[in-house]
Structures are given as C-alpha cells and as structure tokens.
C-alpha cells in the first residue's frame, strides 16, 4: 500500500461530502431528512491494515448509489460496518428508516440493524444451502413476526395466520426475482445467478428501506445481468434505496444515480457516473485498465 499524505486524504473526503447535498441535513435529530444513510469519518483497521480510512458518504432516499473501486479498496468492509458485522474504530453511521427517525448504527448487532431496515447480500453467496429457496426467503419474511414458541406449539390461529402471510410474501418475492418455479428446490441446487437473486429475495423479505448489494452481477451471464439491472430499478422504484458494490462498469453506469469511488480505504471521487468517469483520480486508480472505465468492461 503506497503511503498517502494526510492532507490530500482530507481534501478528497471534504469534496466527497460537499457533493452530497445540504450540509445540515444529516445531523441526527428531529429534523426531517431526505437522506437514508450517512457515514462520517469511518476508520476501520485490522492490526496494521487500514481497510477504511476516514470514509464519509451520504445516500439520499430512493437513490441508487454505487460504490466502486479496485480489489481490496475497502468496499465490502464498508458494507460490513453498515450492517454491524464489523465495528469501525472511529466514525459514525446514521440510518433513517423514515425521514424523521435517525438511528445510530455503529455498536448495534447485525440482526438489530436488519430489524431497523438495512438488508444485505454477500459477495461470496451465503445462503442456507440445505434449505429450499422458499425457506430461505421465509426466514427473511419471518423476522418481523411476533409469535413465540408456545403459540407455534399450540398452533394458535394468530401463529398460523402469520405463517401463511410469511409464505405468501416469500412467494411474491420469489416471483419478483424470477424464481417462483424453483421455490421447493434446495438453495444449493440453484445456478450461481439464481443463488444471487435468491439472496436478494431473502434480503427483501426482511422489509428493508435500504438494500446493500455486494457484487450482485459477479459470475452471472449477460442475460442475467440485464435482468438484474431491471430488478434493481424495480426495487428502487418500490421505495427501497439501493447501495451497490459492483465491478461491472456497464451496469454501474446505467443503473446508478451517484457513484462513490474508493481506493485504499479512502473516497477518491464522488458524483454522477459521467463525472466520475472523467475524474483523473479515478483514471489513476484504475491505471493500466483505464479503458475499462469507459469501454464498459469488467474492471478488476
């Protein structure tokens, strides 16, 4: 990792934040916010490795925000900080489930964050392999249900009703991602692309307001990529903000409203896809593969 000056890091960070709208909108408090997520000055270290170095970013409600950057830039680490899997040493993350209710994220457990309304998929697919596709999604749809073990054992009407509701919601979501015909197949028997979509359905089952997708197009074929693009648009159209990590530039450029570029754990650029594409810092970060940025190939 080449050493970088502190001043330049700070400069980039400030410009990234400045590009993201009114400066006072993100302050947690009673004021309504048009933001869904704000990260301030996140720093995450593993021993000597600094995976995030003062990262700040903001996402507006309904926006499709893409995070790009070379391998090891810290994209997944950022997601892990947003979902409680990692705890950053410094900085804060605020999430607005509704415009009036900010919640601090750092320090909460992953399941509590999911309950607040942030759901995610994993870069290396993590389904429940020995459960059916339907059961995978059901586990998501059931996390907001309230019936306990006693009502389940006694088969109380309330429990049965909720269970049926969870199943039908799961079927709706399987339909949305185009897997309703494979509902009763084991998750592990699905193709790679299907597994990626099943993970999205499972995440949507938890009723999120913000969906984090970690390289959803990795390992999928061109037809699946087109379907994925449409799916992401539909999800965002349904009022769920989408935060997307992706190496496929064509997908990022066509689907994202805003792009944040990470390199060595820092935000080096921030703006619309067109702005970012022209940014010299980005071209430098992708040095040697700069054609990939505008030719729409896979930048890895």
């Amino acid at each position: 990792m080449p050493p970088r000056g502190r001043a330049s890091r700070k400069g980039h960070r400030m410009s990234a934040v400045a590009a993201a709208g009114p400066a006072d909108a993100g302050v947690p408090g009673g004021t309504p916010s048009d933001l869904v997520l704000e990260a301030r000055d996140l720093t995450l270290r593993f021993g000597g490795v600094t995976s995030l170095d003062g990262v700040s970013l903001r996402q507006r409600r309904g926006e499709i925000l893409a995070v790009i950057g070379p391998n090891g830039a810290g994209k997944t680490s950022l997601f892990n900080c947003f979902t409680g899997a990692y705890r950053p040493q410094q900085g804060s993350v605020t999430f607005w489930r509704t415009s009036r209710r900010p919640a601090r994220i750092v320090g909460r457990s992953p399941h509590a964050i999911t309950h607040l309304g942030i759901a995610r998929t994993f870069q290396n697919i993590r389904l429940f392999p020995a459960l059916s596709a339907l059961e995978n999604v059901q586990i998501g749809t059931e996390v907001r249900q309230r019936y306990g073990s006693l009502s389940a054992v006694l088969g109380l009407p309330g429990a049965r009703r909720q269970e049926r509701a969870g199943v039908s919601r799961a079927f709706e979501l399987l339909d949305l991602v185009g897997l309703s015909r494979r509902a009763h197949d084991l998750a592990s028997s699905l193709s790679h692309g299907e597994q990626r979509r099943l993970e999205i359905a499972r995440a949507l089952g938890t009723g999120p307001r913000l969906l984090l997708l970690d390289e959803p197009a990795a390992g999928t074929n061109p037809a699946e990529k087109r379907a994925l693009e449409a799916l992401i648009r539909r999800i965002a159209g349904g009022g769920v903000s989408v935060l997307l990590i992706e190496h496929d530039m064509r997908l990022v450029m066509s689907v994202a409203t805003t792009v944040v570029v990470l390199n060595f754990g820092r935000v080096i650029a921030h703006g619309t896809p067109a702005q970012v594409q022209r940014d010299p810092a980005v071209v430098e970060a992708y040095l040697g593969v700069e054609t990939g940025v505008d030719a729409g190939g896979e930048v890895r």
Binding site: G84, F122, A130, S149, A152, V153, L186
Partner: protein
Amino acid sequence: MLTPARLRQLWVCLALGVLAAVVTGPGGDSAHPFRALRRSVVDPRIGIFIGLAVGLWVLLIAVARLRPLLAEVTAAARARRPVAAALGGPHATTGLNAVLLAAAIVAPLLVSTAAQQSMVNDIGIYALLALGLNVVVGYAGLLDLGYIAFFAIGAYVTAYFSSSSAMPWHAPFVINPFFVFPIALLIAALAGVILGAPTLRLRGDYLAIVTLGFGEIIQLLANNSDEVTNGSRGVFGVPHLSVDLPGIHYRWGIDPLPYYYLLLGIVVVVMIAFGRLERSRIGRAWAAIREDEIAAEATGVPTLRMKLLAFAIGASVSGFAGVLLATKQFFNPQSFSLQSSFLVVAIVIFGGMGSRLGAVTGAVVLQGLAFYLRDKVPPTDRYIYFGAVIVVMMIFRPQGLVPSRRRRREIELAGTTAGASDQLGAAPIGRTIT
C-alpha cells in the same frame, strides 16, 4: 466386483472386528502385557468377529445395491398413484407412526418385569432426555455436554418440594410431585438461561467445554453437600406420582407398567410439540443458525436469543425428566455422571441429529443393547460394545439411524461443497466476512 473402495471398506470392517475381539477378550495383567492380546487374537473366538465383520461388509454392499432398486420401486409406485403419493406421502407417514405407537403400546406386555423396569428407567427417561437434547444439538446445532445437569436439577427440585424426609434440605411445605412438574420445568429452564447467557457467545468447541464443566460442577455439588442433598448416599423416598382430583384418584406405584404408559404419553406429546416447533419460524431460524450463523444474523435472526431459547427448552425437558426420575423412589449423584451426559449425546447422534423419531429410536436401540448385555458381559465392558456400535454407525451412516430430512441434506452437502454444517454449529473463529 471388487473396486478399491469396496476393498477398503472390507479392511475397515476387518479392523473393527479384530479391535472388537481384542477389547472384549480376556483381561491382561501388568506382568504379561501381551498375553491377553495374543490370546484374544489366536483364540478361535476371533472367527466369530471376522465372520461378523465380513457379514457387515456384505450387508453394506447389499444395501448399496438395493438402494437404487428401492428408489425405482418407490418412483414407480408414485407414478402409478401420483395423487396419493404412495410411499413417503403424508398417509404413509401417519400409518407408520400408528404402527410404531401400537408397537410401543404392546411391547411392554411381552417382556419380563425387569425388562419393563428398564423400559421405563433406561429407555423411556432417556428417550425424553434425548428429545430435549435434540432441540439443542439437532435443531440449534449447539454441543451441550453438561445436559444431564438439568436432569439433576429437576430431580433435586422434586425431592426438595415433595418430601420432608428424602433430603435433609426440604421445603417448609410438601406438594404433590405432579405440581412439581411446572416448577422443575421453570427452574431448569432458568438454569439453562443462566448458564447459556454468558456461554452461548462462545463457539462450538468452547461451548462444549464450558457445558461439560457445568455438568461436572452440578454433580460434584450434589455429591459433596451431604447436609443438603444427602451426598453420595442419594435421595430415597420421594413419593410416587399420584393424581388426586375430584373423581380421579390414581397412584403410580412399584409396578413399572403405569409409569411406562405415562412416559409414552409424555414422549408422544413432546414429539408432536417439537415437530410443530421445528416447522415454525422458530425451527427455521434454528436451521438458519446451524447452516450459516453470519447469514442468519444478517437476515435478522437474533441468533443469541434463539440459541438461548433452544437451550432453555432443552433444559426444561431435562428438568421434567428429572421429576420422573425422582418419583421412581431412588437416585444418587451417580445418575448424573459424565457418562450419562455422553450417553444422551450418543443417543441423539446415533439416532440422527435433528430427528425426533431418531432420538427415541436411538434410546431404544442403545439402551436396549445395554439391557441385553447386562448379564452377558462384565459391566465394565458394556461401554466397549456401545462404542463399537457408535463407531460403526458413524463410519457407515453418519447421518444416524433415522435422520431428519434437513440434517441428511446438510451432511450430503458438507461432503460436496464448502458447507460447514457438519461441525455442530461451530463457525470459523477468525471471521472475514465477504
């Protein structure tokens, strides 16, 4: 057709046979350490073991040959009657359950009183214990080696509340053991939560060690506090169960049969209850934790709370069984030894983790074997046979006698993919999440 795999299987069988011959042969002495070994290998008795080993090998081949045939027959039957889904359909399952229940009802009438006694004390109570531990090990994927401690808690709570003479330490009032059931259940569940809350954060092997320690502590406490629990002399004279309701008066007594039917009823009710639990959101959450704890958390499953729930449910069943043990008149700390703890774990794994029928079948087979061996081999050797049976089972049928569908799939997947479901809930320790 002798493929290398088949030959290897033969060698394993033969090795197991020789091992069994040696461990069950005459005992050695320090002056001639190899004499016993020589005698048990040279003795014509070895022929029996070699015969058994070859028999096992032939059986394995036969099963492997027959399996595709059986699958074909089943498929054909299904195709002929697609609606009724002949074999394996819900009707077949109900039918099978009815047959098993009928067998369980008739069985004690055909055996001696000593066998009946064993069917209550060894099979019935251990089936109940295994059903409870199955929730912890099979459903939630947590290895609890101190499970027997809750059994002890249930038994001592019963002695405390229902008799003023059984232990030096007793309640100021005496209540009918029947009303102790809910109390013991709650106290055991509470103990489960108290033990679980700090320890369930630990992963796999660590949890096993901590629970092991807990089991030992409880047994030692019971054994050493003479002024409270009567220590190693044990507890004698807890009254038998009795119902005294207007119109219904019944006393369970020395006769094992009424106890047997009571236990059978309890086991059936617990099986039905846990079946419903397994198919509910709770059971699915447990399955999710077992398969991928990190993904489960990310999907909103409160993993720690769900594990605690499994722990508490398992503990309460164990405490419940403890009440039954106490009302059988006599128990001492020996009933809660490490060996008993391992026995319950062995029953669950032998029967098939995550399978209720497996837990009960495991208790019947293993404890039945113990009863059968009682007069045939010296008591010190009994566990050798136990071990042999379990080792053979784990080599050739790791999913257990009557595996649950989910668990079988997990084990199959673990063989082919990077699934980590075969390690009893242990997740990687350094967790890099991508």
